[in-house]
C-alpha cells in the first residue's frame, strides 16, 4: 500500500534527478569534494562567481582575451592568432572531459591571467559558469 502511494513521487524524483546526474561533471565533482576538504565553510560553486572570474582582467589578459566574451564562441590566441575551439561543453563536448587536461589549462591560464594558481573554489566556480552556458 505504502509503496503504491509513494511510487509517483519516486518516479517524479527520478525524472528530475536522472538528467541532472547525466549532466554532472565528474571533474567538477572532484573539485567540489576537494573544496569541502580544504574549507569547512565551503557552501557551493556559483555561476555568478565563475562569470565574474571569466571577465576578470589580470595584468594583461582576461579569459575573454583569447576565448572571447562568450565561452560558446570560437576564440583566437591573442599572441599567435591560433584558432581556439569553443570552451563551453554545450557547443564543444570534448571540453572538461579529461581531468589532466583541465588541470593543465587551469595551471597555464590562471598563471597567464592572474599571475598565480587558481584556488579550488575559483576552478569550481569557473567550471560551473562555463557548464551553465547553454
Amino acid at each position: 500500500m505504502t509503496t503504491k502511494r509513494h511510487t509517483p513521487h519516486l518516479l517524479a524524483c527520478l525524472a528530475l534527478a536522472l538528467p541532472l546526474a547525466a549532466a554532472a561533471n565528474p571533474i567538477l565533482e572532484t573539485y567540489r569534494a576537494q573544496a569541502k576538504q580544504e574549507n569547512a565553510a565551503f557552501k557551493d560553486f556559483t555561476v555568478a562567481a565563475g562569470q565574474k572570474l571569466y571577465g576578470t582582467k589580470g595584468a594583461e589578459l582576461s579569459c575573454a582575451s583569447c576565448h572571447t566574451d562568450s565561452p560558446k564562441a570560437e576564440g583566437k590566441h591573442v599572441k599567435t592568432n591560433k584558432l581556439i575551439a569553443a570552451m563551453a561543453p554545450s557547443v564543444n563536448p570534448k571540453r572538461f572531459s579529461d581531468a589532466a587536461n583541465v588541470e593543465k589549462w587551469f595551471k597555464r591560464n590562471c598563471n597567464d591571467v592572474l599571475g598565480r594558481a587558481c584556488t579550488t573554489q575559483e576552478k569550481g566556480d569557473f567550471m560551473t559558469y562555463v557548464l551553465s552556458v547553454k
Binding site: H77, T80, N81, K82, K104, K107, R108, D112
Partner: protein
C-alpha cells in the same frame, strides 16, 4: 654543287630538342616551383644523348662519329685558320665544331647524372632518392651547377662558331640544321631521311612528357604513401613535385599545436628542443606546466626528428647554419632562415594572409607536415576581389 640532304631528320630533331631542353632547363633552374619541368628536361636530355650516341653509329653519313672524328689539336689548327680567314669549308662538322659537340655530349651526361643525384640527395626525390645524404651531395650539386655553366659557355662558343662559319662561307648553317640541306659536290654522300626513326623519337618524347606531367606527377605521386596533399592544390597551376612524408606524433601535435602553429622538430636542432622543454616554465611568457611523462614523450619525438637527423633539406641547411655553441629557440632566428627570407618584401610580411614571421603556413602549403618542399612554396598574392 647541288642541294643535298646532309642532316637526317632524327639528327635535326635531336639537335633542336636538346637546344630547347637546355634553354628550358637553364631557365627553370632557379625557380623552385619549376622543379618538375627542370627535372623532366634533365631526364629528356639524358635520353636524347643516349639516342645520339647510338645515332653516331647508325645515323646517316655526316651524323656518324666517323665523319667528324677530329682531335683537339686539329680543332686548334682549324680555329687558327678561321682567325686568318683561310679555313676550309666542311660539309659536315668542322674540327672545332665537332670538339664542341663531344664536349657538349659529355657535359649533358655529367650534368644529367649529377642532377639526378642532387635531386635524390638534396631534395630526397627522384629515382635515387635517399641514396646520399645532404652533406654528401653538396660537392655533386656544385659540380652540377659548374658543368651547367660550362655547358652554357660551350653553347655560346658553338653559336659563335656557327655565326662565324656562316659569314665566312656565306651559308646559313642554322637554316641547314632546320632544312637538313646544304650545297655540296655531286659525290657527297646523301643522308637518308629516316622519317620513321624521327617519328618514333617524337612519339617517345611526347609520350614521356605526357606520362611525366600526368601520370608520374599527378596520379602516381597521389597514390604514393609518402605523398603530401598540398593545401591550396585547386588553386595551384603548377605541377606538384613533393617527396616523402615525415613521421608524425599526435601528442606532440596536440601539445604544441594548441597555442600556436606546429613547428616541425626538423627545423631546430635537438639541443634547442631540449632547452625549450627545460625552460618550459617561461615558454615565451607562458608556463607550459607539462607533466613529466608528457614532457618526456613530446621531447622524445622532437629529438628523434630534429634538424640533426636531417629529415629534409631545410633541416640540413638550418642545422648547418647554426653555430655549434648557439642554441636558438626560434626558427626565425637561425641564420639559414634569415638568409632564405631576407629578400621577402615588407609588403608581403604585412599582408593580411601572412602577418607574422611564425606563420609558416601562409607561404609553405606543407608547413604543417614539416617537409617545406620547394615546390610547395608560394607567397600569397593580394586577396582576390569578390565578384
Amino acid at each position: 654543287m647541288q642541294r643535298t640532304l646532309i642532316w637526317d631528320l632524327p639528327t635535326r630533331l635531336f639537335h633542336w630538342t636538346l637546344a630547347l631542353s637546355f634553354a628550358g632547363a637553364w631557365l627553370t633552374s632557379d625557380g623552385d616551383q619549376w622543379r618538375a619541368i627542370h627535372v623532366f628536361l634533365g631526364y629528356l636530355m639524358l635520353a636524347l644523348v643516349g639516342f645520339r650516341l647510338l645515332w653516331g653509329f647508325a645515323g646517316s653519313h655526316f651524323s656518324r662519329f666517323a665523319s667528324f672524328w677530329f682531335g683537339p689539336k686539329e680543332a686548334l689548327i682549324y680555329l687558327q685558320q678561321v682567325a686568318s680567314g683561310r679555313a676550309k669549308r666542311h660539309v659536315g662538322h668542322n674540327p672545332a665544331g665537332s670538339l664542341a659537340i663531344y664536349i657538349l655530349l659529355a657535359l649533358v651526361v655529367v650534368v644529367g647524372i649529377t642532377g639526378v643525384l642532387t635531386l635524390g640527395g638534396d631534395e630526397q626525390q627522384g629515382i635515387v632518392a635517399g641514396w646520399a645524404s645532404f652533406a654528401q651531395i653538396q660537392t655533386i650539386k656544385k659540380l652540377h651547377d659548374l658543368c651547367a655553366t660550362l655547358m652554357l659557355l660551350v653553347v655560346m662558343g658553338h653559336i659563335t662558331g656557327v655565326v662565324v662559319e656562316s659569314v665566312l662561307h656565306k651559308e646559313n648553317l642554322a637554316r641547314s640544321m632546320v632544312t637538313g640541306t646544304k650545297l655540296a659536290d655531286a659525290d657527297t654522300p646523301v643522308a637518308k631521311r629516316h622519317t620513321g626513326v624521327a617519328f618514333l623519337m617524337l612519339l617517345l618524347i611526347t609520350g614521356l612528357a605526357l606520362w611525366w606531367f600526368d601520370y608520374a606527377i599527378d596520379r602516381q605521386l597521389d597514390s604514393q604513401p609518402g605523398h603530401i596533399e598540398s593545401v591550396a592544390d585547386t588553386h595551384e597551376p603548377r605541377v606538384k613535385f613533393l617527396g616523402r612524408q615525415l613521421p608524425d606524433n599526435a601528442q606532440w601535435r596536440d601539445e604544441c599545436g594548441s597555442c600556436h602553429a606546429v613547428f616541425y622538430p626538423a627545423l631546430l636542432p635537438a639541443r634547442s628542443w631540449q632547452k625549450i622543454m627545460a625552460e618550459q616554465s617561461q615558454h615565451f611568457g607562458t608556463d607550459l606546466g607539462l607533466d613529466a611523462s608528457t614532457t618526456a614523450a613530446v621531447l622524445a619525438f622532437m629529438t628523434a626528428n630534429s634538424a640533426d637527423q636531417h629529415n629534409t633539406e631545410a633541416a640540413f641547411k638550418i642545422e648547418q647554419s647554426i653555430p655549434r655553441d648557439a642554441t636558438p629557440l626560434r626558427i626565425t632566428e637561425t641564420p639559414y632562415w634569415l638568409h632564405k627570407h631576407q629578400e621577402i618584401a615588407a609588403a608581403d610580411w604585412a599582408s593580411a594572409l601572412v602577418k607574422s614571421k611564425s606563420n609558416c603556413a601562409a607561404c609553405h602549403s606543407d608547413a604543417d607536415k614539416g617537409t617545406f618542399e620547394d615546390a610547395a612554396m608560394q607567397i600569397p598574392g593580394p586577396p582576390l576581389a569578390k565578384p
